[in-house]
């Protein structure tokens, strides 16, 4: 077995992907993290204190993991869901009762969404209580707050898509709250969000595009900056 593995490590295909030796010395261990795309979100050296599970509770990593679950299940749900007043509700029902594993994927998306809001919030509490917002990490705290808002916006825009009574009135109430913004701005913002004066076809398509493209892309860019700064500050 060992003989075959060693032969594998000597092949050009292996050497072209992993240009360093096995992680047997401090140097090659550092290289393993440093030269691997997936591992390089972690610093090559981590303080023992900050890998302690009860320091972070893994909440940031869990949030990122849930985001990946939501992206994958969301992409699959998009294959059957059409954002139109005629079809949206019935496509959602088809996903529940007709499509193989549809109910499972929909529920996974739903529960992961609820969990992500809760866990992002808990992550924020953890960062607050460990004082991890203090200099020089103030700016990453600000990005984190924006990411919390982005998470809530993702949750809220997804709320309309099933196009049932709860969705319809939830968005009616929410966009009416927006109307309370002073200086006549509220009505304008609400009109832009809904693409009209009431929750209808335009609103459904707008919330769909926000939910499936615009807000996730914004979240990914912000997450990139967030993780990069965590890494530079020596976090896990």
């Amino acid at each position: 077995m060992k003989k075959y593995l060693e032969a594998l490590y000597r092949t050009q295909v292996w050497r072209s992907m992993f240009r360093h030796g096995l992680p047997e010395s401090n140097r090659t261990r550092a290289e393993t993290v440093f030269y691997n795309f997936f591992l390089h979100v972690h610093p090559t050296k981590v303080r023992k204190r900050s890998v302690k599970f009860t320091y972070t509770w893994g909440l940031g990593g869990l949030s990122a993991g849930l985001f990946i679950v939501l992206t994958l299940t969301g992409a699959l749900l998009m294959l059957y869901y059409r954002p139109s007043v005629q079809q949206a509700y019935w496509d959602m029902k088809d996903l529940q009762f007709v499509v193989s594993s549809g109910q499972f994927l929909r529920n996974m998306h739903r529960w992961a969404a609820h969990a992500m809001v809760a866990i992002v919030f808990l992550h924020m509490l953890r960062v607050f209580y460990t004082g991890s917002y203090r200099p020089p990490k103030e700016f990453n705290w600000v990005i984190g707050v924006i990411l919390l808002v982005v998470t809530i916006l993702l949750s809220y825009t997804g709320y309309l898509l099933p196009w049932d009574q709860l969705a319809f009135w939830g968005i009616s109430v929410g966009t009416n709250m927006v109307r309370a913004v002073p200086f006549g701005l509220g009505d304008k913002v609400s009109f832009l969000l809904l693409g009209g004066n009431m929750v209808g076809e335009n609103a459904l398509v707008r919330f769909y595009v926000l939910h499936c493209f615009i807000i996730p892309v914004a979240a990914m860019v912000l997450m990139g900056i967030h993780f990069w700064r965590v890494r530079k500050d020596g976090g896990v």
């Binding site: 009616s172 966009t175 009416n176 009109f191 832009l192 009209g196 004066n197 209808g200 335009n202």
Partner: protein, 164 residues
């Protein structure tokens, strides 16, 4: 022929250097393009035509509404009220709090909102919050075929009624 170089003086009084002039022109052009694209995107986001139901609609002949009745037109979100004395008025069914559709509760004789519990009387006056205002009353008229016509784009005072 003297080959002496004249020193280049960027800060000749009243004269811009070529570099600075080109920088200003370039930055100005990029700035104008940026502002233009923001303005164009902004106007693109606001639809010019919205396919929403017309605000003026026919509510059928007056005989359809018995005296003392409150009828909700769910499609138009309007209560058509015929008072016991026989006169008509049209009340918005959209809660003034956050836009839910209110319901007529005949057993209590009030209009109630299912979302946050606001209450109004049959005249549309606010009884209980969180709604900030009473329900507005819409303009009502009778067309030449004897049909009630309601125009939701015109609100009228709470003493305006239609005598049929």
């Amino acid at each position: 022929m003297s080959n002496e170089k004249k020193p280049i003086d960027d800060k000749k009084e009243g004269l811009l250097s070529r570099r600075y002039f080109l920088e200003v022109i370039g930055a100005g052009a990029i700035g104008m393009a940026a502002v233009g694209s923001v303005v164009l995107s902004g106007t693109y986001l606001a639809p010019n035509v919205v396919k929403e139901p017309p605000t003026k609609f026919k509510a059928g002949p007056a005989e359809n509404y018995p005296p003392g009745s409150v009828t909700l037109d769910k499609e138009q979100k309007v209560f058509i009220v015929r008072a016991k004395e026989g006169y008509f008025y049209a009340l918005s069914a959209v809660c003034t709090h956050l836009g839910c559709i209110t319901n007529w509760k005949p057993e209590e004789g009030i209009v109630a909102c299912p979302c946050h519990g606001s209450k109004f009387d049959r005249e549309g006056a606010k009884i209980d919050g969180p709604a900030p205002r009473s329900l507005p009353r819409f303009a009502m008229s009778l067309d030449d075929q004897g049909q009630l016509v309601i125009d939701k784009s015109i609100t009228v005072g709470d003493d305006v009624t239609l005598k049929v």
